[in-house]
């Protein structure tokens, strides 16, 4: 399978990428690790006229402490996040979840900005970022703005990004030694989650339970009101309408959401 023809532009900087997006508008797409986009292009589900390669932008890949937060460059590849000592010490949920994405070859190419911008409800790292209550820093011709994660993913392949903006940084609060849990249910080790639950500091996010990654708000409210883990986890699927597909029907997904939420909260409570 070979993608349809396109014009290839390599961006040497964030400004060059924005200029290319501004010039080509809806015809252009950014290429980061290419591990979501190229498969879609091979199937002709994406047919961009112009591909703007941002995979070689220097200074786009970093993990550093910035005040109360950890800042991660959008070009940081999954394996770099997995091995980052800063991430392991300051927000251990993230490197763990990075290590659960796909297989080593996928983690050598896929980027944090790519998985965030792609907005697949079945993706691991967005689920973790949502539980961490971080923010997405985006940049366009008018400069930078910061979007809370709770307002970023709008639906399947749909985000709050404008067509001429790119994701430049992800920011999450430092959680240090606070307990966390991540439970991912798959049929094969290197697959996307059928359902996954991330828990940290009383917040819970779920993968593949709606059109985008979502917070288990009923569970969070119950925990805040003093419910036990068992009681709170039993509410994890409340208000959600998961879909049925060949991997699992909606009822089974609901069961998994409750079960994985309980396990993730239990792990988090053990610190």
């Amino acid at each position: 399978m070979i993608p349809a023809p396109f014009e290839y532009v390599r961006a040497g900087s964030v400004d060059e990428a924005i200029a290319a997006l501004t010039e080509h508008g809806d015809d252009a797409k950014l290429l980061a690790g290419g591990h979501s986009l190229l498969p879609l292009m091979k199937l002709r589900l994406a047919v961009p006229a112009v591909l703007v390669d941002i995979s070689r932008i220097p200074e786009f890949s970093y993990v550093r402490v910035d005040g109360d937060e950890v800042a991660i460059g959008a070009g940081t590849r999954h394996f770099e996040l997995e091995r980052s000592d800063v991430a392991r010490a300051e927000v251990p949920l993230l490197p763990h979840v990075a290590s659960r994405v796909g297989d080593p070859q996928v983690r050598h190419k896929g980027t944090l900005g790519g998985t965030v911008a792609h907005s697949d409800p079945a993706s691991d790292l967005p689920t973790a970022l949502l539980a961490l209550d971080g923010s997405v820093v985006v940049q366009g011709p008018g400069g930078r703005r910061s979007i809370p994660v709770t307002e970023f993913w709008l639906g399947f392949f749909e985000t709050a990004l404008e067509p001429d903006e790119l994701v430049v940084e992800l920011r999450v609060p430092r959680t240090g030694t606070a307990g966390w849990g991540y439970e991912k249910f798959t049929r094969r080790e290197n697959d996307w989650p059928i359902v996954a639950a991330a828990a940290v500091q009383g917040r819970v996010a779920l993968a593949n339970m709606a059109g985008s990654v979502v917070r288990a708000t009923a569970t969070e409210e119950a925990l805040a009101n003093g419910a036990s883990i068992e009681e709170a986890a039993a509410l994890a699927d409340q208000g959600l309408e998961p879909s049925s597909d060949m991997h699992a029907d909606a009822e089974y997904r609901r069961h998994l959401a409750r079960l994985l939420t309980r396990r993730a909260l239990e792990t988090a409570s053990r610190g």
């Binding site: 290839y8 390599r10 290419g34 394996f79 297989d103 080593p104 070859q105 050598h108 080790e189 290197n190």
Partner: protein, 161 residues
């Protein structure tokens, strides 16, 4: 467009279509047929090569993006007088292959595993090779081969310069 890529130690410049995949570039433009294409969907790992020191699935990388990179395929492993790379030697001695289709990708992915973790356990080898499928299902011997290769020291996790 023009790309300059160092393939198995030789720098070359080629005119390519932007949509050319690295796997096709290696097989058709460079004539290096060891790199197999099994699934074309990033699932099987048969097309795994080492790009700038990291194992990647070449069916999901554009040759255009590899401009300036250093790529090693199975053909680039043996020494000038045909001396096998430690990973190749271990796949041979442990009989880590049956039909051989998955083997080039397995060998390259296995080198990637040892470059991260020079002395992995059985479980770590299995996890490290989770992106590679063997339809002959000869996984036991493959795992044994990787662990045998690890005994050869750091060179088993490296590709020739």
């Amino acid at each position: 467009m023009q790309v300059t890529i160092t393939v198995n130690g030789q720098q070359r410049t080629d005119d390519v279509e932007p949509r050319l995949l690295l796997a096709h570039y290696l097989r058709e433009t460079c004539g290096l047929k060891a790199t197999n294409i099994g699934c074309d969907t990033t699932s099987c790992g048969a097309c795994t090569v080492i790009v700038d020191g990291l194992s990647v699935k070449s069916c999901t990388v554009l040759a255009a993006s590899a401009d300036g990179a250093t790529v090693t395929t199975l053909e680039g492993l043996a020494g000038p007088d045909g001396e096998l790379h430690p990973m190749q030697a271990a796949f041979r001695s442990e009989h880590g292959l049956q039909c051989g289709f998955c083997t080039p990708g397995m060998v390259m992915a296995a080198i990637g595993v040892l470059s991260d973790n020079p002395d992995p356990s059985d479980r770590e080898v299995r996890e490290g090779l989770e992106g590679n499928l063997c339809r002959c299902t000869g996984y036991h011997n493959i795992v044994r081969a990787v662990r045998t290769a690890a005994q050869a020291g750091p060179s088993a996790g490296q590709v020739p310069a």
